[in-house]
Assembly symmetry: D2
Homo-oligomer: 336 residues x 4
């Protein structure tokens, strides 16, 4: 059994992680740490039957765990990650702290990095692309919820050099759990329900540099990204509509077959039949990323749609998928 | 033109009141007061085109208004109401401060009353029942959102003495705007959406004494009330399902005709055809209280369903309806 | 491995059943039958990755299955159930066909029973109450979605004879999936969303005789039931608010401890701590029935609230729970 | 008083039109025609208090009306429109029948045009752009719900020739009422709620030729349009996110001021302050088109967001706005 600890266990990602791990046949919960709810039982925090105790982050037995998930905010994660690695455990961080390879870029978006020496050690945990590196890693930076879908969508065409304009438009729509459990104007029911809005328009969303880093790596050169996130009146799920201009000399049917080929061995990328379109319903409450590609009806223009559950494939599910890979287990264990 | 001032203009009731008054052919806005947003324009507070200035409650020209609406919390309303009356204006209070006739009962639920000498002067503004008193009043206590529907439902049978058991069960379901504009755990989208729950079970909701007072007055004697409010995943609307045991010797068809008779001259009580059942859709975004009565299929047992918009008929709409009555205008002016 | 067949596999209960069975370590799908979608793959019917073939009900290998779930409409189920039993397989019926012991009552609500001789053989599959009979049964009548919660709520007090008035009021609220997958006025998004309504008021809902049968059995005598179902703007979940008058001489704390005692060995009844109130969020997407009891604040009056997922504990989950019991497996297998 | 007739009065556009006209001080309902509900009262069709009679389309007194609104499907509208004009009344058609100037383009998308000789007579009723032509028209083709927002967004930049790439991407999201009142898989609550999806991807939505016609007219030359509509889990509202590449030599602040200037005299285009972003909440239940423009953070790239209520500004509200213009009334009459 893999002994698992969780910091930040009472945020949405922590709750989802616990729900997955409770069913995972090879995992056992070693500790659940929470600053805000230390001393409570889990069932007092969320409407669930879990009677696990929540402990203070200061009182966590790091010597008795194999792997630790960090569901803590950026900044805090880097500090905890260092402590976990020093204690000899593996670490899967769900924050942004180890996603960017370049401490200068990190600084621009988040401030001074608390442990820049660990950046080289971290593997970006987009499992389908970096599976081999994840298998050998002891520090995994779990991807952000927004980047996961578009990166899986764009990887097969960028590595083939099929992009003609180096501009990509990502029109993304996320459910409200992406904004976290803390009450705010933005998450007040009356403000969200029956509403729909764009936010952080124009290079201001923190998931942008992470996408730019990975897309440049796939394309072996920088890509101009226009990214507009929107807030959907649903609790869970992200659907991204991605607009690309591809080499018009390439046969349409060759293009349309790229994704099924690229992800044939990836159980959690559900490439839809031709003509179908990915929807939130394909993905919510699962670890799947549903993916569809359709010609725009204008030469060379294609529309890729991805859908995933921001708390599962976009956070805790992908984190457990990475844990499975790190421990040589079946990638789908506990996730189906 | 009636010059109107509003205190607490940036809560939900204030917003709704402004939307109604902007269209009201006989009203003009004299001031909109807000503690939290003084100095802003209204369009900076809500997604609307209203460019009215918000002023501090301290800087309100009470000498240049005819009527003032108080959308302020209980406690604050009593103090402001006194000031408004002293300035010679009429006052319509949407808080609980002037609803209870008995300062001792008020104290039990809200604390010491700030202006108990005004309680006798206040008229309970359930327009359909107290229209004549409202017409002569200068201080109107606008009913609570929960009480309005059940009181309109029960008035025709209680005044006829048709209740056999003196116990009434009110199972009420309200939309989230009833909880106010302030963000909280209770109003977080993820906690409400796809959820449904009872709350304040067992004599703990503050609208209980108000209902008991009025029901006892209708029935000329106390009534045992079991009241369970629930939170619906909608922004607006209250539907109440009311269970009563009536005199089994009375013919069913006589019973079923009581409401249409009682409210024949009340344009905002929409008594449905026999066999129909009131729904939120009958009432939301209108000043109507939709009302239906159906036999339970068990001798003497009846089920009354009322539906209204908690912010309109349950608050601002009824307040304007009262203003219309106070000024001798058509009761429906600005409200259709 | 238990070889499982499903008739009516493309309704909501069938879909849910498939999702549960795909994860069940002791079950394997032998066939999925559908009249409307025979010849399709499952992933063409619902937005899911299941590539199972759907076969015509006429072409089902009944000789190669151990147990069959009937997700077919009443009438059809009785006919299929007879065929399944004759083929030597066990049968779990999710329709109403085997729930009522009395063919005359069945006739009154559904028409002539197609196989009345099987009624005695069927066990009513409310697992927590009839676990021992289910264990020995080869024909299980899975309870209706509405009855499950109230029956679990009322069993502990009715068998103790604590009800003073023999009248029970059940104010129930269900999500839309309870109305089935067929498009209709009632299930049109615009008619349901932001709406809330009572329906089938007054002895007209078909789950009424099933509840009356069981309540009379628990109470050893008839009970007057007032049951009002409502339609909630959510996809899944039923919350029932149940009003009972209990023996006022019994100590409140003794009453409040009845449920935890009755269900101590029942892993899927989640009796909440005192003071907590069951919500849909406690139950949706799980096989749990959450249950809370609160005093009404009026002597002898209590309010019991139950919440469950109508498609899981109210249908497919309870069906698998029964299968587990019938095969001597851990009752929770595949359900957590 | 303007005597108004409505064909197709029981669709969503007809219902909304009635709600507006009931409040309009210069309009009176002459007839409401409905094929499906002739003989009913309006309150039997929708949960409303309107006791107007619905008549068969065959029995409509065209000699006693001044203006007729057609809320009928394409094809039917052209036939009725001809009849209305022959009877000497004015006609405002909410279908697509008179929107396209070219009968050949109409044929490609809808089939043979029933009355092509009327196409020249019709004015495209985008009030803000064609106000003067509308004022003189007796046949107005009310714009589609999707085109209205993007056309208002693009008019100020296309007429100035600021588009560098002649490609425009419109990522549009609509509420479910856009799909009409008829129940279908697409509008089943369970399929829409908590879901989000793209549909009609790739030159297949019928609003495309209408947009291309108008954009080409604004730009004095053809424009490549990539248009992807999505279905939002809300009843009302369309938000369009529009991606354009503009002349990079033009100062950003000059660009950002174009819209406020273009629509200074248009009361129903609500151009937001700089930095704000249009949301559905700005527009739903009003006749406003809210509009915001934000730089994408990449040179020359801009993001325009428009929001409107598909049933009001996108249908019935704009139709009444056109009626007001046709009769020389205040453009806002009955619409605020």
């Amino acid at each position: 059994m893999i002994r698992v600890g969780i910091y930040g266990a009472t945020g949405y990602a922590g709750y989802e992680l616990l729900r997955i791990l409770v069913r995972h046949p090879q995992a056992e919960i070693a500790f659940l740490a929470s600053e805000s709810h230390a001393g409570c039982q889990y069932s007092q925090v969320y409407p669930c039957p879990y009677e696990h105790a929540l402990v203070s982050p200061e009182k966590t037995p790091l010597d008795r765990v194999d792997v630790v998930f960090l569901c803590t905010p950026h900044g805090a994660s880097a500090v905890l990650g260092q402590r976990v690695l020093e204690a000899g455990a593996k670490c899967i961080d769900l924050s942004a702290d180890f996603r960017l390879h370049d401490a200068a870029v990190y600084k621009q978006w988040y401030g001074e990095h608390p442990a820049p020496h660990l950046l080289d050690r971290a593997v970006y945990g987009l499992t389908e692309v970096y599976r081999e590196q994840v298998a050998r890693a002891d520090l995994v930076a779990n991807p952000g919820c927004y980047p996961t879908g578009p990166l899986l969508a764009l990887y097969p065409i960028l590595r083939e050099g099929l992009l003609t304009e180096r501009k990509i438009i990502i029109d993304a729509k996320s459910g409200v759990s992406g904004a976290g459990a803390k009450p705010s104007e933005k998450t007040h029911f009356v403000n969200v329900h029956d509403n729909f809005s764009a936010y952080n328009v124009g290079r201001s969303h923190r998931h942008l540099p992470e996408m730019e880093q990975e897309l440049a790596s796939f394309a072996q050169g920088p890509v101009r990204l226009v990214f507009v996130p929107h807030l959907l009146p649903v609790s869970r799920g992200i659907l991204s509509t991605i607009y690309v201009s591809l080499d018009p000399t390439k046969a349409e049917s060759d293009i349309l077959s790229l994704w099924a080929d690229a992800y044939a061995a990836s159980p959690f990328v559900h490439v839809l039949r031709r003509g179908e379109s990915a929807t939130l319903a394909h993905a919510v409450n699962t670890n799947l990323c549903a993916l569809s590609v359709l010609p725009a009806g204008v030469a060379g223009e294609f529309i890729i749609v991805t859908a995933l559950d921001n708390l599962i494939k976009g956070a805790s599910g992908q984190a457990v998928q990475n844990m499975n890979v790190m421990y040589g287990l079946d990638e789908t264990m506990g996730l189906i």
